[in-house]
Amino acid sequence: MTPHALFTAFSTIVVREVRRFTRIWAQTLLPPAVTMTLYFIIFGNLIGSRIGEMGGFDYMSFIVPGLVMMAVITSSYANVVSSFFSMKFQRSIEELLVSPVPNWVILAGYVTGGMARGLGIGLIVTLLSLAFTRLSIHNLPMMVLTVFLTSALFALGGFINAMLATKFDDISIVPTFVLTPLTYLGGVFYSIDLLPGFWQGVSMANPILYMVNGFRYGILGVSDVNPFVSLGMILVFISLLAFIALRMLERGKGIRH
C-alpha cells in the first residue's frame, strides 16, 4: 500500500472508533463527567475545605490533575478494550484481517481512537473543574506530553487485554482489579509524603503514581517524583506494550485460528 493508502486506512479506523463512542455518548462521555463532578463536589468542596492545603495548594487544586488523569486512563483503556473485543465477538474483526492494512496501522488506529476518547474526556473533566477552581499551567509541554503518552499507554493496555479476552468478563477484570486500585493509590487524592516510609516505597512501584505526578507537575509545578523520570517510564512501557501487541497481532492471538 502507498503511504497515502496507509493514511486512508489509518484514518478510516480512527473515524470509525470516534463514530462509535460518540454514537453511544450516554455510555462513554457522560458517565465520567458525572462521576468527576461528584468527586469535585464531595472531595474538593465539602471534604477538601476541611483538609486545607496539600503540596502547597488548596485541596481542590491538588486533586484536579489526578482526577483528570484518572478519567483519561480509564477512558483510553475502556474504549479500546470494549471496541476491539466487541469486534472479535461479532467477528467484524475479519473485515480488517482480510484487508491489506498492516498490523502496525491497525494498532495505531485503535490506540489513536482510544486516545481520542481519553483526551476528549480529559478535556471535558478539565472544563468542569474550572467551575470549582482556577487552574494555571506551570509547564505546558510537560503537561501535554504526559497526558498524551499516558493515554497512548493505556490504550495499548486495553488493546492487549482485548486480544487476550475470550469472554466479556475478561474485559472488566483488569479495569476493576488492577487499574482502579492502582489509580486510587497513585497519589490522585494525596501526596505520598503523608505516608509512612515503607508505604512510600511501595507507592513508588506503582506506575500510575508517576503519570499522575508528571501531569500534576505540568499544571501545578509540584510532584512527588522527578517528572522526567515519569516521562521516561511511560516511554519504556509504551515501547514494551507496543511490541507485545504487534507480536500478538502477527501471530493472530485470539483472532486467527
Binding site: 479506523i13 470509525r16 461479532q90 475479519e94 480488517l96 482480510v98 491489506p100 492494512v101 486467527r256 485460528h257
Partner: protein, 316 residues
Amino acid sequence: MTNALEIEGLTKTYGDGFQALKGIDLHVAEGDFFALLGPNGAGKSTTLGIVCSLVNKTAGKVRVFGYDTDTHLSDAKLNLGVVPQEFNFNQFEKVFDIVTTQAGYYGIPLKQASASAEKYLKKLGLWDKRDTPARMLSGGMKRRLMIARALVHEPKLLILDEPTAGVDIELRRSMWTFLEEMNRQGTTIILTTHYLEEAEALCRNIAIIDHGKILRHTSKKALLQQLSLETFVLDTEKPLDSAPELNGFPTRLDAEGALEVEVEKGQGLNQVFVELERRGIKVVSMRTKANRLEELFIRMVEENAAESSKAVEGAA
C-alpha cells in the same frame, strides 16, 4: 494466463491435533467460475480461510494472481474479495458506513469509496437501506450486504463461502444472475456451496474435497460425463398412483408425483416411450433432473469414506 489462485501442498493442523488439510493442491484460472465442494468438515472453509488470511496455515504455498501470501500478502489481499459464511459485520453500523469503511481499509479515499458503495448497493438492491443499521436487515439483505462489501474495492477474485445459505429461491436466482454478470465482466469467482444445483448451474470447474484431501479437480463437463446414469423427469397427463415397472429402466415417483426414469448411457429413450405407450401413460413434458452433480458427489464421498475405513482397518 496467470492463475487467479494457486495452492500447493497446503496443510493445516489445528491446536487440538485435528488435521483439517492434508497437503492439497489446487489452481483456479483467471476468469473461472469455480466451485469447491465437500461435506461438512471436509476442509472447504479452512482452505478459503487460509487464502483470506483468517486461518494460519501449517505448511504449503498460496498465491493470488501470482502474489505469494508469505512474501506479498498485501498485494494478494488487494486482489481478493471475501464473502464469509456467517454474518461478520458490526450489527449496529449503518449499511453505507459498513461498505465505505471496508473500502477505507483498502486505502480507497472516501469520495471514491462512496461512489463504489453506491454502485454496488444499487446493483444489489440495498440503496434504499443505506442508512439502516445492519441489524434491521432481513437475512437475504445481510447476505447481499456482505457481497457489496466484498466488491467495494473491485477485487479480481471473489471468494464466496456458502453465499446463498438460508436464502429463498427467488433471491438465490437473482444472486446467481448477479454473480454470472460479475463473472462475465471478468471477476474470477470461487464458491463453496451445499446446493449442488448451484454449482451445476454456475460453475465451469469443480474440485471435490473430503477429509482434507482433494478427491477430484476437473471441469464440470468432464465430471458429468462420468455419470453412466441420467435421470429424466416425465410429467404425465394423468397422475400416477405408483411408478410403473418399465423393462430395463428403474423408475420412481418424485415428491410432486412426476415420474423419474433412470436411463443408462447408450440406452435409447425410444424404448421408454414404447413401454409407457403400452401402459397407456401419456407424457406431456420431459426434463433432465438438475442435480446430476449431487449423484456424482455422493458417490465420490461414499467411495472415499469406504477407502478411509479400509485403510483404518488395515492399519489396525
